[in-house]
Every structure is written in C-alpha cells, then in structure tokens.
C-alpha cells in the first residue's frame, strides 16, 4: 500500500550563546524555573525583539546544506494564538503565504541513495514549558517555566516524500549528523530536536503525530500509525484527519485529549524586525566557513584511511564517533584496526543514540588496544576482555593487561597439562631444547600462546625445565 510520510522537525540552536531575540542564555537546562528570563523574552510592555545575527547565520548554513533556495530577504511574521507558554501570546516565526519569508525553501537532502525534498527551513522562537506536578492528568495546577522561552529554533519541513519508516530513521540520522557537524545543535540534549510526523495511506486522510519525544521514537510511531490506519482500512473504517500523540510508554498513538480546533493564526509581518537582506557576500562567507560535512568526511575516511564504505558510514552517522576515530587514528597508524575496534566492538557497549560519550574510554585507549593486538602482545580475545574493563574504568589497556597477569594461570597442575600438550606437539623442539637453552624460551612462548598469554611465565619456565630434566 502506498504510504506517504512527511516530517516537521524543530531543532534548537544550542550552539548559540543567547536566545533568538534577547541576551538571555540559550542554555536554560538545569536552571531553576523562570530564572533565565529578561524583560524582552518575558514580553514586558515596551520591549522589542533584537534579532540574534548568529542565529540567522546558523539557520542559513542549515538551509544551504539542505540545498535550499535562499531569497534575497528574510522576514519575520507573528503567529497569533493564546497559550500560557507564550509570553506575548504570539510567536515570532516566518511565513511564506504572502512572500518568501523563510530563510530557505525548495531544498532536498540525499541519503542512502534516496532524495527527500525540503519544503522550508525557518527560524522561530521556542515557547516556554508547561510543567505539571505529578502528571498532566492528576495535577491540579499548570505551572509555567519561561526559562526556555525565546530560545532559537530552526524548523525544517519536508515534503511527504517518505514511504518507509526505515528511511525516516536514516534521514534523521543523517540530519542529526549534519547538525552536529555544523556545530549548531547538540542533538543529544533533551528536547533539542523534536519531530512531528504526518502519515497517510493511499488516498486517505492525513494524520499528524505530535509529542514524539526523541528521534529514535519516530520510526516506531510511524510503524504503529501505519498499521493502525491499515487495520482501520480492513475494517472499512475511514481514517479521520486528526492530530494524535505518541505515547512513549504504551507505544501507541492516541487521539489528542483536547480536540485541536482549526486555528486561525492571523499571521502578519513583525513590524519590530526589519527584513534582513541576504547579500551574496554573506552567503559566500558562510559557505567558506562551512565545516566538513558528513558526506565529504565519509569519502575522506575511505580515501585517507582505507576504510570500507560501511565502516565509514557508521562512523560519520555520529560526529562524536567520527571524531573519536580520527583522534585514535592520529595516535596509531593502523586506522582500519582502530575503526574496526570502534565499529564492531565498542559500539556493542553503547546505546545507539547516546553513543560512546557516556563510556570512560577515550581514543587513546582504543589506539593502544589496537597496537597491543597488532604487535601480538595480547591476543584478540584478551583484548576484548580488556575492553570490557576499560569502558567502565578508563584504565589504559596495557595496565589492565598487567593487572590481568596477576590473575594469570599459576595453578601448577593446569600449567603441567598445558606443557604436556606442548611437549606432545613440539617433539623436535623438545629434543633441541635439551641441547640449546634458547629453544627453552621457544617452548615457553608456545605455552604462553596456548594460554592466550595467561600462563605465569616464571612458573611455566620452572615447570618446563623440570620436565626437560625428567626426560634426560
């Protein structure tokens, strides 16, 4: 069945120092309620919005990366509606019905060989937050925290070009990586990126899903919604055009408790902010300042380090992982080995979205680990054990290896069994060893090797000598 999915993504410009229209900090997280506010973001009578130029630059950079057309001027509009989280009871945003007011329009993003069109990229202010004691259902009060109000948001709207929830995940992964590479948004911060989705089946009505708390939930919400709409179809029930909310805990979309009325936002141009002129100079200078982006970086990883496309892709999907790799590759020249350790082993310890930031391991550790294995100082198996330790402790692999030696095989009988086996397979060496002291060391090496390096060398040597003596 033909499915159409479109996305409306809101991304906070957490890379900014201040809010969109005042000098309050862009970082409201962890602050007491209503402490990160000023006369302007509280909308006190007589105050005027002062546009943050850096926000404009960031939004323009996002728009350029998403291949949007930037018009000569950007302007701001007021979206009027009453809601307690809006200090002015209107939101300053952009609006394209009467002119092209957005930062960018008509763009696209390619991912995984596919292409999704971008309808618009625009700048707007985040409202405050409604806070309920306990839960929304049981709380007797609604509390309002305006510390977030006025933080810069970039809204990215796609055309309904997706037909597979998996593609949405891939697209969001790529978008996340782009935002991280641009340095405009720390996408891991709670609420820094939000996504609303609209889903419709062939010829059916469009259903909007809101309240999806994180990108990782988006795919699940869409899968549920498609199956819900399909099952309605098989029962002959028509899908209603409505807004539904994603219930994280129950993993279902539910009809919004409050039926959203058809809102008339009475958009009109914001008189307090003159239209912004985009001259070619600005665009040129932004293009020249643009950092390396995921696609280019992936290609470079393949060329410069000889990584496979797949490994490179996994790394650049998360800027932290890619940076981790590059830092590691600087410390140890076998970059492929460093990459393999990150992609195949290290990622196993981490949650897909949180990445390896939460672990204590650093590039230094992975580089040393790869080196120790390459130089046969430790076996791959031991190295994996060591990795398990250092992700938690942050100790250096060599130190862990040493420490593990303390727990090496020093049980006499266990070693005797190993030595017996070595003597069986290395008969000629044993013979030579009776004459040549150096060959004794070879036998010791074999014993250590067959215990994956865990044999206590001193004790093993003693036992080998003893056994050799017993032969003569």
């Amino acid at each position: 069945m033909n499915v159409k999915i479109g996305l409306e993504i809101h991304c906070q410009l957490t890379g900014l120092k201040s809010k969109l229209f005042c000098s309050c900090s862009a970082d409201y997280r962890g602050r007491d309620a209503n402490t990160n506010v000023c006369s302007i973001c509280m909308g006190l009578p007589g105050t005027l919005p002062l546009l943050n130029k850096k926000a404009l630059e960031y939004a323009t950079m996002i728009s350029l990366v998403l291949n949007c057309r930037t018009s000569n001027t950007a302007s701001f509009y007021r979206k009027n509606y009453f809601y307690p989280d809006l200090p002015k009871n209107f939101q300053i945003t952009q609006y394209n019905a009467h002119e092209i007011s957005s930062i960018g329009v008509d763009g696209y993003l390619e991912f995984d060989g596919k292409k999704v069109r971008i309808r618009r990229v625009q700048l707007e202010e985040d409202p405050g937050r409604l806070v309920y004691e306990g839960s929304m259902e049981t709380s007797l009060y609604t509390l309002v925290d305006y510390s977030r109000a006025g933080v810069a948001l970039v809204e990215i709207v796609t055309e309904p070009d997706f037909d597979d929830p998996k593609d949405v995940r891939l697209f969001l992964n790529k978008l996340t990586s782009i935002l991280e590479h641009l340095g405009v948004c720390d996408t891991r911060l709670e609420g820094a990126v939000r996504c609303d989705v609209n889903v419709s089946l062939a010829g059916g009505k469009k259903v909007e899903i809101k309240n999806i708390s994180s990108f990782r939930e988006v795919e699940k919400a869409i899968i549920f919604e498609i199956s819900r709409q399909k099952s309605l179809g098989t029962k002959g029930i028509e899908v209603r055009s409505e807004t539904r909310h994603w219930d994280d805990a129950r993993r279902v979309t539910i009809q919004s408790r409050v039926k959203e009325e058809e809102q008339d936002y009475r958009y009109f141009p914001e008189p307090d902010i003159p239209a912004v002129n985009f001259n070619e100079e600005l665009i040129k200078s932004l293009k020249s300042q643009m950092p390396e982006l995921p696609d280019a970086r992936r290609s470079r990883f393949v060329e410069q380090f000889g990584l496979s496309e797949q490994v490179a892709q996994v790394l650049i999907n998360d800027k932290y992982l890619a940076d981790f790799f590059e830092d590691g590759a600087k410390l140890y020249e076998n970059a492929r080995e460093v990459a393999n350790w990150i992609v195949t082993d290290l990622k196993g310890y981490t949650d897909e979205f949180d990445g390896i930031r939460s672990l204590k391991i650093k590039p230094l550790h992975i580089a040393e680990l790869a080196k120790l294995v390459d130089q046969s100082v430790i076996s791959r198996t031991t190295a994996k054990q060591i990795l398990q330790e250092i992700v938690k402790s942050g100790e250096m692999p060599s130190e862990v290896a040493k420490r593990l030696n303390a727990a090496q095989i020093s049980d006499k009988q266990e070693l005797i069994d190993v030595i017996d086996k070595v003597f069986e397979t290395e008969k000629s060496a044993v013979k030579d060893a009776l004459q040549n002291e150096k060959i004794v060391n070879f036998l010791l090496g074999k014993v250590i090797q067959s215990t994956s390096g865990r044999a206590d060398p001193k004790l093993a040597l003693e036992l080998i000598r003893k056994k050799l003596t017993s032969i003569t």
Partner: protein, 483 residues
Amino acid sequence: MDQLILSANELTEHIKNGSVSAEDYIAKIFERIKSVEKSVHAYISLNDSAIEEARRIDEMVKRGERVGRLAGVAVAVKDNICTKGLRTTCASKMLEDYVPPYNATVIDRLQQEGAIIVGKANLDEFAMGSTTEFSSFGTTRNPWDTSRVPGGSSGGSAASLAAQEAALALGSDTGGSIRCPASFCSNVGLKPTYGLVSRFGLVSFANSLELIGPMGRSVYDVALMLSCIAGRDSMDHTTLDVDVMDYTAKIKQGVKGLRIGLVKEMISNGVDDAVAKSVHDAVSKFEGLGATIEEVSINSLQYALASYYIIAMAEASSNLARYDGIRYGWNMNPEGFAWNAYYTKARSNFGSEVKRRIMIGTYVLSSGYYGRYYLKAQQVRTLIKQELAGIFKKLDLLIAPTMPILPFKIGERIDDPLQLYMADIDTVAANLAGIPAISIPSTFKDGLPIGLQIMGSHLSEELLLRAAYAFEEVNNVKSVANI
C-alpha cells in the same frame, strides 16, 4: 520672573548660572500641579523623587559639574512610556499597578541631560483615542476650556504644558496623538521621522506607525528636546542609523526661498471654517516670509484613514495579546479557572475602545479577510509613501490643518467612534508614510486653539523646525492658558 512659564532653554540657563534653584522650581511645579490638577487632571502618577533629583542638579551646579542641556527642566511623560520604578499604566486597568523594571531609552537620554520627570501624563487607554476620554483614570480637561477635550491620545502631556504643570512633555504619535492635543492645547508637538527616536520602552499600540516625540510651549524647546532624544538605539532595530545632531543650530535660518505645498484635500470637505481660514492666513504669513506656496493634491489621501485604521487595529490586536494577567499587570487568583476562562476574565478589563480595536484588528487579520483588508491597507500605504515622495521632489514642505475641527465638548463624540476616527484625517498620512510632521499654534477662535500642521520629507526635521520657528516668530500665539 514666573519660572513656570519659562521656556526649557531659558530655565536651564537660569539653573546653570544659579539664578534659579532647580529644587525651588520643581517645588513650584508640584504646587502648581496641586492647585490645577482638580480641574485639569493631566497626570496619572507623580514622581516622588523629583525634588531630590532637582536637588542633585543644584549640587552639581554648585560643584561646577556638567548638568546637561535640560538641567532641572520639569518633564511630563506620557504614561505609555516606561519609567523604571515609576508606575506605567497606559491609562488601563490592565496595568494599573504595573511598575516597569527598566527605563525607555528616551527616559535615560532625558535624565542624562538633567531633565526631571515630574509625573506620568494621562492618555487614552493604550493611546487609542483622540480625546483622552478613554482613560481608565478619568478624563483630562482642556486647560483653555475645561468643558472641552484636550485632544489625544497624548492629552495629559499637552494639557500639562498649557496649564504650566511641566515645561516639556513626551508624547507618542500613532496617527496624530502628539499633534492633535498639541493643536487643541496650543502647544508645539512633533512626530519625528519613523526610526529617528527609539521606541524601546514605548508600550506598543501600532508599532509600524508610532513614535515618541517631543512636546513643548515653543518650537525651540521642541527642537532642543528632539536633539536630546533622537538617534540610533541598539535596543530598537527600527531606529535609523543617523547621527545625533543639534536641531536648534539652524533653526533661525528662515523660510526664504522654500517651496511649500498647501494640501488641497485637507482644507476642503468637512473642515471647520475657522480652521480653513487659519490655514489661509498661515499661507499669507509664509509668503510674507519669502516662501512660495502652491496648492497640491494628494490623490491617495482619500484612502489614508481606512488604511491607517486597518493597520493600526491589526497591529494592536496582536500587541495587546500579551495582557492576560498571567505574568504581570492586573492580578487575579487563578484558582478554579481553566486557561481560556482566565483569559476571558482578565481581558475583560480592557476599556470599550480598546476592545473595539482588538476585535476589528482580529477580524481584518483573519484568514479570508487578510487580502481584503490588511494587504489592501498596506498597498495603500505604499501608494501614499510613493506619492508623497514624488511631491517632496518638487516641494520642501507641506502645510495643512492639524485637526479639521476645534476642541469639542467632553462627551460630545464619545459614543460615535466613526466620527472620532474621522478627526484623524489630516494626521494619519504622516504616520503611514513615516515622515515628520509638527503641529504649532496657529490662532484662536472664540478662545479655542487652532493648530497648523507642517509636514516634511523623510528626516527633514531640521527644515521642518526652521519653518515652524519662522512661523512662530511672526505669529506669536499664546501657549500658556490662564487657569
């Protein structure tokens, strides 16, 4: 020497040379306020620390320190301009106890020049009106005839000057709100070029149209006050990047050789005969001063009033949305109210004229009507701008009546909003085009003041003030009411 009728620049000179003590003068102002307020009611609030501020000026003078160009001058500030620590009500019940935590830029600039804010002047609620009758704090009366309106919305500012309760005043002008009361109270009131004076701290009614402007009893005082408040402000993106200048410097250069247009549409239909006659007399005076006068027609003016009210109300409906009683201002226990019910209750505190404008503004912006009203109004606005720009290529200044009528009786028109709106017909064009316009006393008819309006092109304040000054010199009309 009657200190109360001195011009601001004379007064400052006296204070600077020690012949007048600022403290004594401000004390006299307060005595005056005490004695006339019952019959005028120009103020909503008074500044308790004014005397102390004046004393500080005197001390600075004694120590030989620089005291600024308005040292010790009593200034009335329209109560929609924020004053830190001093209640700013907008003459609305909604903000009856509201004390701003910051100063408007113009207040900071005035205080840097040594001005003493004596009080907050009455206005129509949120500056919506042209009579000062729509104030939740009672009507201001015209000091020339207390049975009549002082004009509005800056009626308190104008009345305070005529009644000698201040030497200078700040008003705000969205569609004539400085010029109308200046005309009705026989003072000088200037609406500067849009962007010349910072709006930071001016409580918005219709932000694309309005500006703070100086009011005084003489053209020179108004030029002096403008010099103190004008110029770019980093707190207001709509201010123009112009150099601060001294608008008094060339004020005495006369009008010889200037080409002045007499706006035909503004002296024909619906204009009181006395008003029309006053304009024709003014024409003769300007000609006598060496200017050439020609009649000029501005076709787009016929749509100006409709365009103005649509834009002003649309913007007002959005600007006033923030008054919901949640964060500041009018306070009510929210217990038992859902959000919408709370909004309804809180916002019922607006007065009838404010409600009317919010409703009309909401209507003209609603989907389906936007194109028919708001967009059309903006197109008209562009047309007016263009037509005026064309006219100012050939002419230096335009003259017209400020008000088509004389100050009328309190209560006479309050029930007829359309008739009230019609009175703004000569003033709104300057706001739509963003050009400067001044009202200066022209004459009296049966004891009632009539003002003359002069308009100039974008940023022509210097020329405008020069012409106004020249006219004032030969005209010499009373600006101090005997009350």
